[in-house]
């Protein structure tokens, strides 16, 4: 298998075109986003275009990108624009100004950076890699990708993995729920078996509870002004619902409280907590107050072994973490560059075999042509004599190309394929 296109005698090249949160406003991104089923159909349409040999479509809330391998990249890019425009019923002019296009190494670099979350709105976010993997698996199963993109994507995942494991880029929390978990772990060490109380409801609060469950948290209690909502949430988390009146009693048992209600006044007061300190036997208690106006009396923070973080405090934690992520991002860029260089080398290696074949083929056909011409003009030769002359022609070919082939292969060993290959191609004039 090779990215060398046998039919046309040229290499396919990689090109990427698309838009992201930096180049296009959310309205445009929304119009161009592809759902899973739409992506499948669109891949089919892209694959069907003769200009496009291999293709992958990546669509998320923050980017839409088309990665292709083609012989004529400009034609492929134009074709992809028109397919997307037709599919989405949007004239190309409407989104063309938001598009960026990267060729060859730049495209490879972009892909690596995207998967390593270096191009994301929040550098170091973990979701993008899953999204990229999903896009690739779809392309692979629809047979839209080929040897070049397959190799590129496998290297992409490798680079992303290196970035994640060798840098601290994803280490610290940059979302409210992750920041809360990080703090909880600094207080409690292991979150296993810790009892959680959710007061109220809301996306961030519920997300935090889910994270806690992932960390093997213990019993979950849910208190809500509306009993049905409380019961519903409790069922979702496999926990139990309690009435708001039972809240003070619950404070004796639970370790982590996440509060997110619409209440204009404090839902948990200092007195409530003071009363349970003794029966808690000094065990730490952590309050996460996501609500505005605040649900939890900040004075509770002054009590022994009690910790209160409101949403501003959590945002401060995140800001600090973003700083350190940017430092890690520098390390990540270095890893990406190493990947780009390695991939470029692989790409050049692909040219070796076709070049050797082309060289043999050219010299061979010259020899064959001359041999047959000469034999045709000679009469009175026996069959053995003709055969001997043909063998001579082939022997000359083999011996002539032996040293050039050696030269190319040595170039490979010395990691200098491109120079060796380009000399060979020039000397034998293979690229006419």
């Amino acid at each position: 298998m090779s990215a060398w296109d046998e039919r046309y005698g040229v290499m396919r090249e990689i090109v990427l075109t698309g838009l992201n949160h930096k180049t296009a406003p959310v309205e445009t991104r929304e119009r161009l986003a592809f759902s899973a089923s739409e992506a499948k159909e669109a891949l089919g349409a892209l694959r069907a275009r003769p200009e496009i040999d291999e293709v992958m479509l990546l669509s998320s809330c923050n980017r839409v990108e088309v990665l292709m391998a083609a012989r004529d990249c400009d034609a492929a890019v134009a074709a992809s624009k028109s397919v997307v425009a037709d599919f989405k019923g949007l004239p190309v002019a409407d989104f063309e100004s938001c598009l960026y296009t990267h060729h060859d190494n730049a495209a490879v670099r972009h892909m690596f950076r995207v998967a390593a979350s270096l191009d994301s709105m929040v550098v170091g976010e973990p979701q993008i890699l899953g999204q990229v993997k999903g896009a690739y698996y779809l392309a692979a199963s629809e047979k839209a990708s080929g040897p070049l993109l397959n190799r590129l994507m496998h290297r992409t995942f490798h680079v992303a993995k290196r970035v994640r494991s060798e840098t601290g880029i994803g280490d610290s929390a940059v979302s409210i729920s992750y920041a809360a978990i990080e703090l909880a772990r600094k207080i409690f060490g292991s979150l296993e078996g810790r009892k959680i109380l959710l007061v109220g409801a809301g996306e961030m609060a519920e997300l935090a509870v889910e994270h806690l469950i992932q960390h093997q948290a213990g019993d979950i209690f849910v208190a809500n002004r509306t009993l049905e909502r409380g019961v519903e949430l409790a069922r979702r988390f496999n926990g139990s619902a309690i009435a708001l009146e039972e809240l003070p009693e619950a404070l004796k048992e639970v370790d982590i409280i996440i509060s997110s209600t619409g209440s204009p006044t404090y839902v948990i007061t200092r007195d409530m907590v003071k009363q349970v300190v003794k029966s808690r036997k000094g065990r730490s208690i952590f309050f996460i107050d996501i609500a505005v106006p605040r649900d939890i009396d900040p004075a509770i923070n002054r009590l022994s072994n009690a910790y209160v973080y409101d949403i501003d405090d959590l945002k401060e934690v995140i800001d600090g973490n973003i700083e350190s992520r940017n430092v890690e991002a520098v390390k990540a860029e270095r890893i990406v560059e190493e990947g780009v260089v390695a991939f470029a080398r692989w790409l050049e290696g692909l040219q070796t075999v076709p070049t050797i074949k082309a060289m043999r083929s050219k010299v061979g056909s010259i020899a064959e042509c001359e041999v047959e011409k000469t034999l045709a003009s000679l009469t009175g030769l026996s069959d053995e004599e003709r055969a001997a002359i043909r063998r001579m022609g082939q022997a000359i070919v083999t011996k002539v190309v032996h040293d050039p082939i050696r030269f190319i292969k040595d170039g490979c060993h010395n990691r200098d394929e491109s120079r060796a290959l380009s000399y060979a191609r020039s000397i034998f004039n293979l690229d006419e």
Partner: protein, 272 residues
């Protein structure tokens, strides 16, 4: 010769741990741990050789006493490090062992003033070892307490500075401190008991109201109160850490201060 080797290794370990504190690279911590272990071996070897040569445990004067104290700190730290895996504790344990050892080396080696019989009894040996191990454990508890206070301040005051990232969770620090206090208190109790028994043996009375004995009992009481409050009153976390620090302060005074400022038969062991 063993002296120099021990000091060099403890010093190297302290440096490695300092580097770990500032740069947080795993290999610094691993190096610190390894070097400390090697220093401990050298130290143990040195003590064994001395004991075998003289026939007695080397605790005749301040120089030797400090040497044993450093050794006890090293032993306790290695055990805690192994058991609790709180790497950052090396940052105070290694310099502590180093300091005790260096001071020991600077102090002159004075001849013993008591008859050898005093030094060669089993009770004497048991008394000294348990007291020093107890003090080493309580030194670690003090260290854990200090780290706890640092980390708690960082979290409560929302000033997550230098130490926040480098310290483990409050729970881990509290657990380790608690274990140290239990172990230290037990050893201290045994130390006091063996001391009284030994005193009866050679001086024919359980207690002489020597200042060190008095202050030892005071120290013991502080830790007894700490443990009681923790077990019965649920006092843990910050208050427990503060008491552990204060208790060790009193203990340090008991070990060294008493001898310098007051007279008594224990003074013989800390002459310089």
């Amino acid at each position: 010769m063993m002296d120099i080797l021990t000091v060099v290794l403890y010093l190297a370990s302290s440096v490695a741990y300092m580097l770990y504190l500032f740069f947080q690279k795993e290999r610094f911590q691993e190096a610190g741990y390894l070097l400390f272990g090697m220093g401990f071996l050298a130290h143990t070897l040195g003590l064994t050789v001395t004991s075998v040569q003289t026939g007695y445990l080397p605790i005749h004067n301040l120089r030797e006493t400090l040497g044993i104290a450093a050794w006890a700190v090293a032993l306790v730290f290695l055990f805690l490090r192994f058991r609790y895996r709180i790497k950052i504790t090396g940052v105070y344990a290694a310099p502590l062992a180093l300091l005790a050892y260096i001071v020991a080396m600077r102090v002159p080696d004075l001849p013993p003033t008591q008859p050898e019989a005093v030094y060669s009894s089993f009770w004497f040996f048991a008394h000294v070892i348990t007291i020093f191990l107890g003090e080493a454990a309580l030194a670690m508890a003090c260290g854990a307490g200090i780290l706890y206070i640092l980390q708690e301040n960082a979290i409560k005051e929302k000033k997550r500075g230098f130490f926040y990232r480098r310290l483990p969770s409050l729970e881990q620090l509290d657990n380790m401190g608690y274990t140290c206090i239990i172990a230290g208190f037990t050893a201290l109790t045994l130390g006091l008991v063996t001391g009284f028994l030994y005193s009866k043996l050679i001086w024919h009375r359980f207690i002489s109201w020597d200042p060190k004995e008095v202050w030892s009992v005071i120290s013991w009481l502080i830790y007894a109160v700490l443990l009681h409050e923790r077990l019965v009153g649920g006092m843990r976390g910050r208050k427990s850490a503060l008491l552990a620090i204060a208790g060790f302060g009193v203990l340090l005074f008991t070990l060294f201060g008493v001898n310098f400022f007051m007279d008594g038969h224990h003074g013989e062991f800390t002459r310089f």
